[in-house]
């Protein structure tokens, strides 16, 4: 009997370890005994948030984890508005779920100069609580990373947004892994907003590519839409990195009043990235001299360094 119990306990411990490795919360342990979590994790802080759109949430498996990095990438600096919009919408969803309001936005000098500084009145209208909104522009990337680490591990913030431009060489896989571990230990999310960035190996659980789409029109009381008006923001999201093998793309609308995402009427879930579909031809003209080197065989496991 005792032997059986010991085996059971061992099995349970192993399961827990595996769950931890996979980044999932062992549901039994956490939900059954709320105090069983790590001491630094606030008991009320949620572990995951959802988009609230069934199709999208199904693609995301278990929602966006709040103890790690979620990367949000834009293709060019021009899309900074859409990128910040989606990051802030996620932050608003987290604020709503966690019932905490403190946010920290860390910008680098280039992004804050090119795309501007966050404007609290606009943020309020966008559905964010700005009572404890903090903004920092550190001089160096090292300082920014230190600040993001300190902010995540302090446990005082609902979310930390780290904004960088491109793929700086001093923020590679090891740095992102370090940041991810900090976030995991504290159980607080870090949203990495990368403007004009390349796909690069990182520790982020999910990576979204955001592109702007024409906004929806303003609704009228009778249910119809006011033609020519600019209403809620709409984003085209491509889920580039996730546990799902195929990149999935969808168009979401952000309702700042209800602080909720929804699928737009015009959109349909597509399994193929729209960009690739639009330009089905060769990206570059055929080489005049020799053909390009043969592409590597096998599946792509990790992106090389983009910097």
């Amino acid at each position: 009997m005792a032997k059986y119990a010991a085996a059971q306990e061992r099995l349970f411990a192993l399961r827990e370890t595996i769950a931890k490795l996979e980044g999932r919360s062992p549901a039994l342990v956490v939900e059954g005994q709320p105090w069983a979590g790590k001491g630094s994790v606030s008991r009320t802080f949620p572990r995951r948030v959802f988009f609230g759109v069934p199709e999208v949430d199904a693609a995301l498996d278990e929602g966006i984890p709040l103890d790690g990095i979620t990367e949000i990438r834009t293709l060019s600096m021009r899309d900074a508005g859409a990128g910040s919009g989606f990051a802030l919408a996620l932050a608003a969803v987290i604020q709503k779920a966690a019932e905490a309001s403190a946010l920290l936005w860390i910008s680098d000098r280039v992004s804050s100069g090119e795309a501007g500084l966050p404007y609290p009145i606009g943020l309020t209208q966008y559905g964010l609580g700005v009572e404890d909104f903090l903004h920092a522009v550190p001089r160096k990337l090292d300082d920014a990373l230190w600040l993001a680490e300190a902010a995540a591990s302090s446990g005082a913030l609902a979310a930390t947004i780290l904004e960088i431009k491109g793929n700086p060489s001093s923020f590679g896989l090891s740095e992102s892994r370090r940041l991810n571990l900090r976030a995991k230990a504290a159980g607080r999310p870090i949203l990495l907003l990368r403007h004009a960035g390349e796909e690069e190996a990182s520790s982020a659980v999910f990576r979204f590519c955001v592109e702007p789409r024409p906004a929806s029109e303003r609704p009228l009381p009778d249910g119809s839409m006011l033609g020519g008006s600019i209403g809620s923001s709409v984003f085209r999201l491509t889920l580039e990195k996730s546990r799902n093998p195929a990149p999935i793309s969808f168009i979401l609308e952000w309702n700042s009043h209800d602080r909720q995402f929804s699928l737009t009427r015009q959109s349909e879930l597509s399994r193929l990235s729209g960009r690739a579909a639009a330009r089905s031809g060769a990206l570059f003209p055929a080489s005049g001299d020799r053909s390009d080197r043969a592409s590597a065989l096998g599946r792509l496991l990790a992106f090389g360094r983009a910097s």
Binding site: G81, P118, Y126, A156, I230, S233
Partner: protein, 445 residues
């Protein structure tokens, strides 16, 4: 001739810096140190002498240490700055007992009264060569002839008139210090000691119902150099460990400038600013409220990266978008949440998520005259076609701030075909022979 003589040019700035450094060093005896001219220091040692074993012992200690540093110094302790000054420069100094002022001063020349050369020469012409002569003549004719200055100086030296010295630094609200028999160098030792002396600060703060906002750690190096490290807190602090934590980050930030050399022999912790402290009972589990955690984070970051890096926002009543929000260092933000919530009136009209640091000039084409949106515009060298537009929202300049020449702005929300949404404005109106300028001011999600 003297071939061995070493000629060094006079460098008044370096002399002054040396005197300042010496004054810093003298902070160990009293917080009230004043600089006197180019070669003297005044120390107000009221209430400090017992710490050093009496006046004579204090004076000996100062003079001996300065002599060891290679200075030739004269020092005197007396009841008034004027008398000490005279005794240092015209006698051999020493401690002058109370009541002996007239006797000491009597035999000194009139120049010892800190009066200008012209007056000294005039006094000498009259045969008044020593201070004793001045004491014996009637005061009224002296005042008539030389003005009140001579008598004022005389009275100050004799302590008939109060003479305050002006200390170089404001006196700290509270101050604790620790003298070390053996100098310390390691950062950990410094921090550990800071926490220990901060603990002795606590009863004093509690007695006053206050907590410190700005702390100064003064480190006296063995060779006389003094380092001052200042760290601020976003809310009043009493907890010794939290005070020490402020300096943990601060010392890392100033690491390169803080040269421990042969070590520090005296640590002092000053409270420069304070605030009333609100007592709050901690949670039984020991989990503090979010407010306290956030304040800790703000303190850490401000200590490490500087005050200006981390900023919060406050709202002001203004229609001009860039004036409606002020960014302030997070550490000095008002703890009142009401000021940090956007007033309802401001959030009625749509504002962008990001505002450019300053409006950027752009070219707009085919705008509907007089007050319509442009149908195309060129910004940062890229041409955009406007698909949809909303506006105008007219914002007039604030007459109580702007001059009469500033113009109205008409704001538009523009959406281009690719889905980017911008906030642009036209400055001024279309008029005959006048083309208004267009600006890009922000972007929406």
């Amino acid at each position: 001739m003297h071939p061995t003589i070493d000629v060094v040019e006079e460098d008044p700035l370096a002399d002054k810096a040396l005197l300042e450094a010496t004054a810093d060093w003298c902070d160990r005896y009293t917080p009230l140190v004043a600089i006197d001219g180019s070669d003297g220091l005044f120390l107000d040692i009221t209430g400090c002498t017992h710490l050093f074993g009496g006046e004579q012992a204090l004076l000996d200690d100062i003079l001996f240490r300065l002599l060891q540093m290679g200075f030739k110094v004269q020092g005197a302790i007396s009841a008034s700055p004027g008398l000490s000054w005279a005794a240092c420069r015209f006698r051999e100094g020493g401690v002058i007992a109370e009541g002996a002022a007239e006797e000491v001063l009597g035999s000194l020349p009139v120049a010892s009264l800190r009066i200008d050369d012209q007056t000294v020469a005039a006094l000498k012409k009259l045969g008044l060569k020593e201070v004793g002569d001045l004491l014996s003549v009637p005061r009224a004719p002296l005042a008539r002839r030389f003005g009140g200055h001579v008598l004022l100086r005389l009275d100050q030296a004799l302590e008939r008139e109060e003479e305050p010295i002006s200390p170089r630094r404001p006196v700290a609200y509270l101050s604790v210090e620790r003298r070390l028999p053996e100098a310390i160098q390691a950062e950990d030792d410094i921090l550990g000691l800071t926490a220990r002396i901060a603990a002795s600060l606590r009863p004093n703060l509690e007695a006053r119902g206050a907590g410190g906002r700005v702390f100064e750690l003064v480190l006296f190096r063995v060779d006389g150099r003094v380092f001052r490290v200042i760290a601020g807190a976003s809310r009043p602090l009493r907890d010794p460990q939290k005070i020490a934590n402020l300096f943990t980050e601060r010392l890392k930030a100033v690491h390169d400038e803080l040269d421990a050399g042969f070590g520090f022999e005296l640590l002092r912790l000053n409270v420069l600013h304070h605030d009333s402290f609100e007592e709050a009972q901690g949670d039984l589990v020991g989990v503090s409220r979010d407010g306290a955690q956030l304040a800790d984070l703000i303190d850490r970051v401000s200590a490490r990266l500087g005050k200006g890096v981390l900023r919060g926002f406050q709202f002001r009543e203004s229609h001009i978008p860039e004036r409606a929000v002020v960014a302030k260092p997070a550490i000095s933000l008002n703890s009142d949440v009401k000021d940090r919530r956007a007033p309802a009136a401001m959030t009625r009209v749509e504002r962008p998520l990001r505002l450019l640091p300053r409006p950027e000039l752009m070219e707009a084409f085919a705008a509907t005259v007089p007050d319509g949106p442009p149908s195309r515009f060129r910004w940062r060298r890229v041409l955009h076609d406007v698909a949809r537009a909303e506006g105008p929202e007219r914002i007039s300049p604030e007459w109580w701030l702007d001059d009469a020449a500033s113009e109205e702005r008409d704001y538009f929300r523009l959406e281009i075909a690719s889905g980017h949404r911008f906030w642009v404005y036209r400055k001024g109106h279309y008029q005959p022979n006048y083309q208004p300028t267009w600006y890009m001011h922000g972007m929406f999600a």
